[in-house]
């Protein structure tokens, strides 16, 4: 009896270990594949060519700069809108809302996060871009602004659900102590609860960044896909082209092994590196060791 249980325990531990390591192996394999397919691009196209501002691959113009800038512009725009709204919504749901309101709001926000992005892109194309064109008197509604707005709509549920969980985890003793010392409710939230939950909140924001920069269908449909460099203040309302949309639109036509193929994988490497940096930054905050004061209090 005891011998059988002992064997199955070892087996299960082994299995779980293998599955856990497999995540690392998969990431490693993906990275290896990206490098092996994308690295030839550096040999075939000179580095200075990548820094040019014209992206027109069918005529060998491989300037990646407009694509990089495009991805950054829509992501930054999305975050400027999504982080304040997401954070304040999370604070409302976690700290201020009554339990019944909370029961209703939280699932609704999760529902918003479950929308397929292509549906939101479609709505953006048919409805939002037309309104923006009329209201802001733009030449066209297919612009970075439209893309940023819809990306914000996708990032907000991600930010809200994780921030809200993080705020919930803060021990009630922190809030009680703060109120007992005479702080108002808002002072408690802003200066005690939120800083205590900051690792979770930062994770949420990093997740929002990751979703925004990796989003493909939405930007393919509403940003206009024009590889333009920024022109001062008009940048946000001009059309733009992101790296993800470029890969999605062009990967179908490229012949296996051609320069264009390698350059697209190179763009994939850049995206992978950006995601890596974002995630590593997030994990340094998540896995920070608790300060002695926090360990004592909680």
């Amino acid at each position: 009896m005891r011998a059988r249980r002992f064997n199955s325990e070892i087996l299960i531990t082994y299995l779980i270990k293998i599955l856990g390591y497999s995540a690392i192996i998969f990431v490693g394999l993906i990275f290896y594949f990206l490098i092996s397919e994308g690295f030839p691009a550096i040999r075939e196209v000179s580095f200075s060519e990548f820094l040019k501002v014209r992206w027109y691959p069918i005529e060998d113009y491989y300037g990646i700069l407009p694509l990089l800038v495009g991805s950054i512009i829509v992501t930054v725009g999305a975050l400027i809108i999504a982080v304040p709204i997401g954070l304040l919504t999370a604070i409302y749901i976690a700290e201020i809302a009554s339990p019944t309101t909370k029961e209703v709001l939280k699932p609704l926000v999760e529902l918003l996060g479950g929308f397929p992005s292509v549906v939101l892109g479609f709505l953006g194309l048919l409805i939002l871009s037309q309104y923006l064109r009329e209201i802001l008197a733009l030449p066209t509604g297919l612009s970075a602004l439209t893309g940023a707005l819809i990306l914000a709509g996708i990032a907000i549920p991600a930010i809200v659900s994780i921030s809200e969980d993080a705020l919930d985890t803060v021990p009630q003793s922190y809030r009680d102590a703060s109120l007992a010392l005479g702080a108002t409710e808002w002072e408690t939230i802003w200066m005690v609860t939120l800083p205590a939950a900051r690792s979770g909140v930062l994770t949420a924001i990093m997740l929002g960044i990751g979703r925004a920069i990796g989003e493909t269908m939405v930007v393919l449909m509403v940003t206009g896909n024009a590889p333009m460099m920024p022109e001062g203040l008009a940048t946000f309302i001009n059309p733009t082209r992101t790296m993800t949309a470029t890969i999605a639109a062009e990967m179908g036509e490229v012949a296996n092994g051609s320069t264009h193929y390698h350059v697209l994988f190179f763009i994939g490497i850049i995206l992978f590196l950006i995601a890596l940096v974002v995630n590593v930054t997030a994990s340094t905050f998540v896995f920070r060791r608790k300060k002695r004061s926090e360990r004592i209090l909680s």
Binding site: R54, P57, T140
Partner: protein, 297 residues
């Protein structure tokens, strides 16, 4: 516990055997015995190819024809990679692609199966009725930026285009932007919107009075306004609207042939199908879809 494990293994093995590929999938040559044909390529032609496939399969239930789009470049690449029997293309095969094919042991054979015209479309509220090829080239290369310069309203021009993997895009680049000159290096203006499909172009044209776009004649709907085009380099400047008559007569300046490419001379079912495509019944379908039928020999 053990009983459940063996049941699970049994189910997994069943699923894996059910997912095995068909024997005809990676055929490198047209299959002579089975009536199965794979047809990949031009998005301009995909509706036409689908209509042909459906009609043929209706008449011949034992046949099985699979059609997909992806662009002329994708179709020719598939032919070279031996993953398709017939490649649809809205542009001629390039010499690099012919070289690639020959290196893979394939000799591409070309058939002109229909003709197409590129229509220039604007918003129905736009007062402009006619444009010359030179004006179109200047609009799309960024030299003309306001409709006023063409006699229209004071509005910025928003240029719409298909993506670079579309044969229509390449055709427009060569014949309109560069006016047929192979040494010309003019490019689209960087703020040209490269939209992923004809439907997206249509949505923007219908709602944006600033927009101008182009697409195959088969994709123009009644709620778009088509502009007459003239080849201003000719002595006698006549603005022609695109239609089956003007394309077959050769008077519409922006018209092209639609091709199907096979690996080597077609044999077996591929030959049967291609012969059928030149029949009056199939060419009727070409007309129904807004393209122009070829002269049947």
């Amino acid at each position: 516990m053990q009983f459940k494990l063996s049941y699970l293994v049994f189910v997994v093995v069943l699923v894996i055997t059910a997912c095995s590929t068909r024997s005809g999938d990676d055929a490198s040559s047209p299959s002579d015995e089975s009536e199965y044909l794979n047809n990949v390529g031009s998005d301009t032609m995909v509706n036409l190819a689908l209509a042909w496939a459906e009609q043929y399969q209706d008449d011949n239930p034992q046949a099985s024809i699979s059609v997909s789009g992806g662009g002329s470049g994708t179709g020719i690449a598939s032919l070279i990679n031996k993953t398709t029997d017939v490649a649809n293309a809205s542009r001629k095969i390039k010499s690099e692609e012919i070289d690639n094919a020959q290196q893979n042991g394939i000799e591409p054979v070309e058939f002109v199966v229909a003709r197409d015209a590129i229509a220039i479309i604007v918003n129905p509220e736009n007062p402009i009725n006619e444009l010359s090829l030179q004006q179109l080239s200047d609009i799309y290369s960024g030299k003309i930026n306001n409709w006023e310069e063409l006699g229209g309203e004071d509005r910025p021009i928003v240029r719409l285009s298909r993506e670079t993997n579309s044969g229509t895009h390449v055709y427009f680049l060569e014949e309109v932007l560069r006016l047929g000159d192979n040494d010309d290096k003019t490019l689209f203006s960087p703020d040209t919107l490269l939209l992923p499909s004809s439907e997206v172009i249509g949505a923007e044209i219908r709602s944006n009075p600033n927009a101008i776009g182009y697409d195959g004649l088969g994709y123009v709907t009644l709620d778009m306004k088509v502009v007459a085009v003239a080849d201003a380099s000719q002595q006698d400047i006549k603005y022609i609207f695109p239609s089956p008559e003007s394309v077959n007569e050769g008077t519409y300046p922006i018209a092209r042939d639609l091709y199907m490419y096979t690996a080597g001379e077609p044999v077996g079912f591929v030959k049967t199908y291609l012969d059928w495509i030149f029949s009056p019944q199939a060419q009727d379908i070409v007309t129904q879809l807004g393209f122009v039928p070829v002269q049947v020999q």
